[in-house]
């Protein structure tokens, strides 16, 4: 039984955030251990992601982190020679509703201020960007060409392999059951198989994060809810961007829905339920396909011919305000919290991981001050102005 082996950093959780964090730390020469209770990298909710990577957000924290993620993902194959399924093509939000048009247009100057390449385009251009889109009532939409898609099942392999080349150790099927501490300093991690010491611990436990509140003696306000997604048989490539329809559905079940075509030609899709399914139950529900089908076929009528291949569910680790916590843990030295990605771990992870490596190595964030403030652990999670673009 390995006991009291010492590391610079222990990362708890090998998902969308922990794994890239380990990669950035190992690349910078740190001695890293990654622990996960599952059998391989990215086998929790990471792989349930449909693969969209967008910097199209409404807060400076997510915009900054995701711009960095896009930079890392888009250049991965050239830098490391490993194909992560990157597909450029942007994000497109087609709009049929005056209120949504106003809110998206109002955001654009703010998004641009933080470096996002986005514009409002008219209905004719939307029809070119989304071939076959329903033209009735189409007002236009936003288009952000720098966004794209990645394979949520290949990216974890990519980060792990590069991290291991730089000496990172990965231990799977090993569950964290406690923390080593000296007073207010976290000095390591205890698992069901051994104990390990470290200068720093990064908590990146996704949907399990709240369970660590008790182990650490701090409040981690993360509540998972479960979302369903699906994939079709491949069809001829016709759709470049990831498409988001922000309208709530007339069936009363959907808050919005989104889809894209992956590199294999499959249409991959998901919706946000109007009433959330709180908890970590990942069993499929029978209303998913009928509800989703109605929306998809209304937006793009030819989608009626798609063949459904598989559906699944994954959890969004939600904070009360829908924005992650990426901060030093107040009151506990040696602990960095990287939790509550709110369903956006895949797109946030690479950039967030780089930021965390900087927090540990250089003692400072890479992202701008306003972005850091978004992610603070001691912020007011219940303030009134909600995130405009979830």
């Amino acid at each position: 039984m390995p006991t009291n082996k010492t590391y610079d950093v222990i990362v708890v959780g090998c998902g969308s955030v922990g794994n890239p964090t380990a990669y950035h730390l190992a690349e910078a020469g740190k001695k890293v251990l990654v622990l996960d209770r599952r059998p391989a990298a990215g086998q929790g909710d990471n792989k349930a992601a449909i693969g969209g990577v967008r910097a199209t957000h409404s807060d400076p924290g997510k915009i900054s982190a995701c711009l960095e993620s896009l930079n890392i993902i888009a250049n991965w194959e050239e830098k490391h020679g490993f194909d992560v399924g990157w597909k450029p093509g942007g994000y497109c939000f087609p709009v049929y509703d005056e209120t949504i048009e106003k809110s998206l247009k109002d955001l654009i100057p703010y998004q641009k201020k933080y470096g996002l390449d986005i514009k409002w385009v008219g209905p004719e251009e939307i029809k070119e960007i989304i071939p076959g889109v329903n033209p009735v009532g189409l007002r236009g939409g936003t288009y952000s060409p720098g966004d794209g898609q990645v394979s949520s099942i290949l990216l974890p392999v990519a980060f792990q392999r590069e991290a291991m080349k730089n000496g990172a150790e990965y231990r799977f099927n090993e569950k964290v059951i406690g923390y080593l501490r000296e007073g207010d300093k976290i000095t390591g991690v205890k698992t069901d198989k051994g104990s390990y010491s470290s200068e720093w611990v990064v908590l990146a436990a996704g949907a399990d994060a709240a369970a660590h509140s008790e182990l650490l003696g701090i409040d981690i306000p993360v509540t998972p809810d479960s979302h369903e997604a699906g994939i079709t048989a491949p069809i001829k490539h016709f759709l470049a961007p990831l498409v988001v329809d922000l309208r709530p559905g007339p069936e009363g079940k959907t808050a919005n829905f989104y889809f894209g075509q992956n590199r294999e030609g499959q249409i991959i899709f998901c919706y946000t339920p109007k009433d959330l399914f709180i908890g970590t139950n990942r069993e499929s529900i029978s209303e998913f396909l009928p509800v989703l089908a109605g929306r998809m076929v209304t937006l793009i009528p030819s989608f009626k011919n798609l063949l459904i291949r598989r559906i699944w569910r994954g959890c969004y680790p939600m904070t009360p305000d829908g924005i992650p916590i990426i901060d030093y843990a107040t009151g506990l030295e040696g602990l960095v919290l990287a939790v509550g990605m709110c369903g956006q771990g895949l797109m946030l992870g690479p950039g967030v991981g780089k930021n965390i490596a900087s927090m540990i190595i250089d003692g400072k964030h890479l992202i701008p001050d306003e972005a850091q403030d978004c992610f603070r652990y001691d912020r007011d999670f219940y303030k009134k102005d909600k995130e405009a673009l979830k």
Binding site: Q43, V157, P290, V297, F303, K304, N305, L306, L307
Partner: protein, 110 residues
């Protein structure tokens, strides 16, 4: 083939397809196993064996056999997520079904 000619046993293919849905050859699976992959979900992600229409009905057992051939105890191998055999259904059928149900309900209300 003329009558009475004995059947020649077909040569065993050197690198057969293991996953027919996604056209994955044995050599690709052996390479992944030799690179250290023990979780068949991760194997599926890397080489796509089991990601096709049959959801791994054919290849799962064959891959387990390859693990054995490679001398890896199956106790070290994590099985892939079990998924039912599917008949792929048109998305439009789900949408239509919904409308038909609604119509039926309306008729019942009348």
């Amino acid at each position: 083939m003329s009558e009475g000619e004995p059947l020649e046993p077909e040569a065993v293919e050197e690198d057969p397809y293991i996953c027919r849905c996604e056209r994955v050859k044995k050599s690709e699976i052996v390479d992944a196993i030799r690179s250290g992959v023990r979780d068949m979900n991760q194997l599926k992600a890397m080489v796509r064996a089991g990601l096709g229409g049959c959801n791994g009905k054919t290849c799962t057992d064959l891959i387990l056999r390859i693990y054995k051939e490679e001398g890896i105890p199956l106790s070290e191998v994590t099985l892939p997520t079990h998924r039912p055999l599917v008949a792929e259904v048109h998305l439009g059928d789900f949408a239509t079904q919904k409308e038909e149900d609604d119509e039926e309900n309306q008729n019942a209300d009348q």
